[in-house]
Subunit: 494 residues, 2 copies
Amino acid sequence: MSSGESNAYQKLVELSTELQLLKNTQALLGWDQEVLLPKKGVAYRGQQMSWLSGYLHREFTSEKVGDWIAEAESTAATPEENANLREWRHEYDRATKVPVELVQRFAETQVRAKAVWAEAREKSDFSRFAPELQNLIDLSREQAECWGYEGCLYDALLDTYERGMTCERLDETLGGLRDDLVPLVEEACNREPFDQSKLEGDYPVEQQKALNRLIAEDIGFDFEAGRIDTAVHPFCSGMSPFDTRLTTRYDESDFRSSLFGVLHEAGHGMYEQGLREDWHGQPIGQAVSLGIHESQSRLWENQVGRSRAFWEKWLPVAAEHFPHLANLSVDEMFEAVNQASKSFIRVEADEVTYDLHILLRYEMEKEIFAGNLSLQDIPGEWNRRFEEYFGLKVDKDSNGCLQDIHWSMAIFGYFPTYSLGNINAAHLAAAAKADEPGLSSQLEKADYSGLLRWMRKNVHENGSVYLPDDLIQKATGTSADPAHLVAHLRERYL
Amino acid sequence: MSSGESNAYQKLVELSTELQLLKNTQALLGWDQEVLLPKKGVAYRGQQMSWLSGYLHREFTSEKVGDWIAEAESTAATPEENANLREWRHEYDRATKVPVELVQRFAETQVRAKAVWAEAREKSDFSRFAPELQNLIDLSREQAECWGYEGCLYDALLDTYERGMTCERLDETLGGLRDDLVPLVEEACNREPFDQSKLEGDYPVEQQKALNRLIAEDIGFDFEAGRIDTAVHPFCSGMSPFDTRLTTRYDESDFRSSLFGVLHEAGHGMYEQGLREDWHGQPIGQAVSLGIHESQSRLWENQVGRSRAFWEKWLPVAAEHFPHLANLSVDEMFEAVNQASKSFIRVEADEVTYDLHILLRYEMEKEIFAGNLSLQDIPGEWNRRFEEYFGLKVDKDSNGCLQDIHWSMAIFGYFPTYSLGNINAAHLAAAAKADEPGLSSQLEKADYSGLLRWMRKNVHENGSVYLPDDLIQKATGTSADPAHLVAHLRERYL
């Protein structure tokens, strides 16, 4: 790399690091809006966010940046440099190829569509939402055409959330999962349900907070570089490797809701905390994709948090916080957190049935963007598939195709990342155990230091150097393989 | 105003409103740092703050802005336009007249001096701090020379915190106060002290929060446009008229500490909430000075919160939150919150003695910047004056001239605004009662709606249209007059 050329690369690193300061500022503004902002402050907050978005867009899409990228591309040498340039190129092209007029039209339609969707869901009437959904689909197509794609148009949408992902690969991964999952769900849901009344009692919020903190600290979440707060919808927001914030919500009649929220979000949070500080501000210093992010949250929520060993350690501590739990055995607690049952609503689904909800959405989206499914047929098609997978008849649109907010925000191609997360979590957990001789016996003692260390080394510290699929291959030896998830579910539920 | 010229004014309004978005973003970053930020996030937060400061400075000090101001000055017609230009001119000149080299030297010295001060205070040894203090004084002089001033150099420093304030006027206002205050302090502190053990008991934090919120809501703080949180040092931060945040701290053995913190900060907060929304982003849409801001906090903390009528209403409610208070009479509670006693430390001082602490500091600063007091004489001179005013011998520098953080941050000319706040609070309260026939009887019933309405109209809604002294004149008919404060203290304490 000549000195003149390395100069362009260096300028990109500096700009990227500077703009990251503002992205993290935006993250705080957004976090604060969800957690703290007084009601009347919302409109003004919108103006602040929008100013920052505008500034970030202007600075990164200037011609100068395009020149730097082109110059640096011709000389990039190391895997890190190439990965940074891969992501800068991707972001720059996407940001500059779409006409401003389309961006504005899209934004306006999204605002309108979200309101119409809320009303349609309220009335459980898909036909009210259909015209706006059609607009969003048309706009998404138009945008994807500007971006360009190699295989099918839907690949361009997938690539927004999971870099490098294609229908072709997803069909293989998720298709394989479906064949095993449908009978597994049937069997798991037919088991005698656990008598949940055994957990009945008071769970004071302060006690829940204390227990959640103990557990989050024990599994490795760093409270000197993070916090847990309360929000209506649990989420994790990383504002730098030095400031990662989780939220959860509290149900005073059941401590599991806040605890599993914390375990899930702490999984996301430990990924953020494990990113390399010296790369912060560069693309390679960031989490690589939603499917990998979700693998970390699902790992700690499900692989760890619903395991028997976890409750052998933590049930006695939980009983110190909630004395009526002293009557419960570890076997009972294990049962209580591993119950499968069929339901219409994705967000209420358990570990076993969840991915069937996702498969249905993925298949529908693919058909829609392939032009094989017209909008008026969506409710019928949704309900037909739902009955095929779950053996249940959907009673109304609000329990079916109107339940999710995603489509109303033109978020197409996102759903598959949930299942990729589950598949990756099981796959990575299996690989870690195969890789580290002592790990299984550590896990039996609910000691998670080795597991976290393995994830740090094989996932977190790689940031975005490798594309998601390459990362999984590097860490496990093969591409994402749903067999590990199926084996895990079979062992736990059957 | 011709259309071409109004254009320059309009551009200034737009720029000012845009930059206010970023100042408010900075306010949130700062608030979050005090209230929530995890330990390891501090350095990165500093980078974010510094980026915003740099951007704000660059944008506002560009030559273009200087041209707009000059152009608009020649055509400004209304009081509001003139006031905006008065402030833009002041800010622009101050920001552009100081060489960057001096700004940097100053910033570096401040960082060093603060650390040296902390160490010197720890060891109670002023001589360790003296060389750095000398540097800060020299730099402040140098800066004031760049800014320019009419009377004495110290006026330029006063003007930083209280626009238009001069030594000449302060000597009159504060000098008058001193003559009455010294004997009044003596008499008030000689009264039989109240037996504080009557308030002993548990004050759970949650109950304190509930009571504080009831009271803050009742006096008019809008929780749809604000919050109360917890911080080591109570403060109020206004991030827009739609988002004003107070903090307080909790002592589980005494509810007064958090309550008076909330009353004080809510006074600041209601001023912020009362600023005109349609002027937000312009100088006239902002609070005018520290001395006026402090008048609002002192009004609610002292004039209202320590009145007998206040406790006639609120003692029964406090007793619902803290049952052991049911044994206390209103007279006793009134006594309990109105105790005068001499102490070395300003921040622990009561309503009566507080201003003597300020007078001492003001007189010392004035002498220092007039060149009449060399640094090695500061401890002796401090202690001599302290004995003169309080009749107490200062035992060590950490209880004397090393106690305040202000000088270590080169904050000179700030202290007087505390006393101006007390003087203005009593003056405005007296004017409001004289102005509104029914107000006194409302206050007897602890109904504060009329008082707030008067402050809204005569103080808050004027923003920065008038300079502080003009505002007081307009609201009360005369310049700030300490007689009202003296009368108030005499009535309450003697």
